[in-house]
């Protein structure tokens, strides 16, 4: 039914239909990849700005900041001083003058920086990279079909995401600045301009996320339909690679979670624009500020698993391939992901222990939250079981896979502490939380993304990424990441609040100055290490070593397709005869049996 002959014909396309309004899932995947990497730099840049402020409060930034003499005596010393003088002399109010006079981050600007750092990283980096880039590129190739079920919807999904990014970027330049109520947009801080002074920024923030919701909606409809209906002959559900399982589950989560955020945003925008009082308690029948938190976290907690599940899927692929062993407990891996996705819906209250909740209710949320440790532990032990006595090949993607597992364990363990209501009284709203989220989303998801990019790069562009550069990038990132985020646990236990622009104004935090400087230095190292990745990425597209069709000896279907993958993916749709992880099967000559290789002996079950 889907083997349309016409897709196999030679396909001539113009530049616009090939690279811009492409309908090909591989090109859309690559578009999302570039989009995510660009936004990654924006999000990282914002973080470095506020990290500077935390280490050196109210000191001018390096390079663009004014010199000491200029700030004290008005004496122009450096090029930056000349720039500031020009800015101050100009008639109109320059953007830099408002937000960071002399290169010093203003407190209001600081609020905007951390808000936008998280917003950009969550909605414009990790989700587009994991779900947009890997989902689009891998799903049709790995289940053995020619394209997505609805290529036009697929294209729309990317362009909705671009529109959302444009709206979000506009917010930086509107009067009053961008949203500054935190990425969670807690009301009434976000619903009334009088608290933050932010007018249009918050509204554009909401509209942008609404559009991003449309993008996710269209994308997940496509993923779900494609995976259910368009698998190659023989590709049963339990022969799907784990990364496809994870993307399938995530598509369902996105589909059901994002509309709840959309409903909350509708109410928020009405509060802002139409004078309703949904999130403000007023004497004449007003609303409820806590409602936002319920709606937001009912979306937000599944969103957390949207950020990590595809990372788990990618890590499973990497670890099985480079341990040359079948994944340990394939079915339990699938059921664990389903369990995590299900439990994700009934734990949102653990974000609100301190917001005001019946203590009994808090205990229920505590219990459901701790239950998530069970499927997570199953997955972790299965990864270790896969590596145990395997012939591990320490390629760079494998290093990222191992980094994923180890960092995820640290992030997961700190999560168990926070899930305890009594502990949360103490650590909530501190850097302990910041450390936890970064161990899971940077240490987890981003290492999986980096590993995935290096692993599938030969299939995407027909070349290897430069391995020496990849290794340097990995080790720098791994070390700088831990130096940046591990000390935050200590800051958090020491009572260092998150979201404060100047810790030095509190006496009990002054002792942390050295640690804050250390963290900032590590963060800058971490940021610059990413430049290596981007250089390597673009350089390797043109100059990398040419790769053969299946360089890592992988069993799954995407490696059956010729490189570069043509329009329509496969000459003939492959038939699947076995599970996805048939590595080192006893009695076989080769240590891997492709899924599409017909049976010639009694089959060894793939699971």
């Amino acid at each position: 039914m889907h083997d349309n002959e016409h897709t196999e014909q030679h396909h001539e396309e113009s530049f616009i239909s090939k690279y811009i309004f492409s309908l090909d899932h591989k090109m859309i995947g690559k578009q999302f990849l570039i989009y995510g990497l660009l936004m990654f730099f924006l999000g990282g840049g914002l973080a470095l700005l506020f990290r500077w402020q935390l280490a050196y409060p109210e000191k001018p930034l390096p390079v663009i900041g004014a010199s000491q003499q200029y700030m004290e005596e008005g004496e122009v010393v450096t090029g930056a001083d000349r720039m500031w003088e020009r800015i101050y002399e100009s008639e109109k109010e320059e953007w830099l003058e408002v937000n960071m006079p002399n290169g010093v981050v203003e407190p209001a600007f600081y609020n905007m920086l951390f808000t936008m750092h998280a917003t950009v990283m969550v909605f414009f980096v990790v989700v587009p990279l994991l779900v947009g880039a890997f989902g689009n590129f891998l799903i049709p190739l790995m289940i053995g079909t020619r394209d997505m079920a609805f290529p036009i919807l697929n294209m729309l999904s990317f362009w909705f995401a671009v529109l959302a990014a444009i709206i979000m970027m506009t917010g930086f330049f509107v009067p009053g600045g961008h949203a500054a109520a935190g990425w969670t947009g807690y009301t009434p801080l976000s619903s009334d301009a009088q608290w933050t002074g932010v007018e249009w920024g918050q509204i554009l923030w909401g509209l942008s996320l609404f559009v991003q919701g449309l993008s996710s909606l269209v994308g997940s409809i496509n993923y779900i339909t494609t995976i259910i209906n368009m698998r190659a002959p023989g590709m049963t559900f339990f022969r799907m690679p784990l990364v496809i399982w994870s993307l399938f589950i995530v598509a369902i989560l996105l589909l059901l979670a994002f509309p709840v955020l959309s409903s909350a945003i509708v109410l928020l925008v009405f509060d802002r624009l139409a004078g309703t009082t949904f999130f403000t308690a007023t004497p004449e029948g007003g609303g409820d500020p806590l409602l936002w938190q319920h709606l937001f976290w009912f979306f937000g907690h599944p969103e957390v698993y949207i950020l990590i599940l595809p990372g788990m899927g990618i890590a499973s692929e990497l670890i099985a391939v480079f341990s040359r062993k079948p994944i340990f407990g394939y079915r339990s891996m699938v059921y664990a992901m389903i369990a995590i996705a299900f439990l994700g819906w009934i734990v949102w209250g653990h974000h609100m222990f301190q917001s005001g909740m019946r203590p009994g209710l808090g205990s229920i949320f505590m219990t459901t939250t701790m239950l998530i440790a069970v499927p997570s532990a199953i997955k972790t032990f299965n990864w270790l079981g896969t590596m145990f006595r395997g012939s591990i090949r320490f390629t760079t993607p494998m290093l990222h896979g191992i980094a994923f597992v180890s960092m995820f364990v640290i992030g997961g363990l700190s999560g168990i502490y926070m899930a305890n209501t009594p502990v949360d009284i103490y650590v909530h709203d501190t850097y302990y939380i910041v450390a936890h989220i970064h161990y899971v989303v940077f240490g987890g998801s981003l290492f999986a993304i980096f590993g995935g990019i290096i692993f599938w790069f030969p299939k995407m562009y027909g070349r290897y990424m430069n391995d020496a550069l990849s290794k340097i990038h990995f080790w720098l990132t791994f070390i700088a990441f831990n130096c940046t985020f591990f000390p935050m646990h200590i800051l958090g236990v020491g009572g260092h609040m998150r979201r404060i622009s100047n810790p030095q104004q509190y006496e009990f935090l002054q002792g942390f100055e050295g640690m804050n400087i250390f963290i900032t230095m590590s963060a800058f190292t971490l940021g610059f290490a990413q430049l290596i990745l981007v250089f390597n990425f673009f350089w390797s597209i043109y100059k990398g070593k040419v790769a053969e069709q299946n360089p890592w000896h992988v069993t799954t279907l995407e490696w059956e397709a010729p490189t570069p993958v043509p329009h329509g993916n496969f000459g003939q749709i492959p038939t699947v005869y076995r599970g996805p992880y048939e590595y080192s099967v006893p009695g076989e000559e080769s240590d891997w049996i492709p899924q599409a290789q017909p049976e010639h002996a009694p089959a060894t079950s793939g699971d």
Binding site: L217, I224, T225, P233, L256, F258, P259, S263, E599
Partner: protein, 197 residues
Amino acid sequence: METQNHIDVRERPPLSNARLAILVLLGAETMLFSGLIGAFLVFRVGNVTWPPPSHIGIELPRIVTGINTALLLISGYTMFQAWRAIQKEKVKQLRNWLLITGVLGLLFLGIQGSEWVQLIRKGLTLQSGVYGGIFYVLIGCHAVHVLSAVIWVFTVLGMAIAGRFSAEQYTGVDTCTIYWVFVVALWPILYVLVYLT
């Protein structure tokens, strides 16, 4: 365990891509309305008297809206008849049923619109506390869905007039019917919640 003969060659999946996609979309729509209904319930339960004391004089038009509810339910039936007609290759009947459905939908919107105008005249506006606010947002969100469903029905009608459907090929009618039934079935829930309780 599995041999080549047992390989599951999917000629035709149980649900076509289009039908599956529209059902998946309805999952998302359900969650959107769940969010708004959840907000409504929080306000409803959070206020001792409903409507709040400041809105005592204002009555929602229960009876007219009840009639309107009936109209919408009938449109669900007519849409179903349109769907049945095309399965029996009765293209003319398909057109008639689609036209009736679309007109009923427009009638529903018209009556609701005129009721809104009267409510606003009586002083129930978006700004009058959460009572007015959630009323207009929740009911308005449904109205937007009815409007898009009406546009969809008339588009399908245009395609039917152009002779695009047959008993073998009626995906357009099929998906539109599923969406219409969802929008119709959602309404009684909102009517009972917002108008009657």
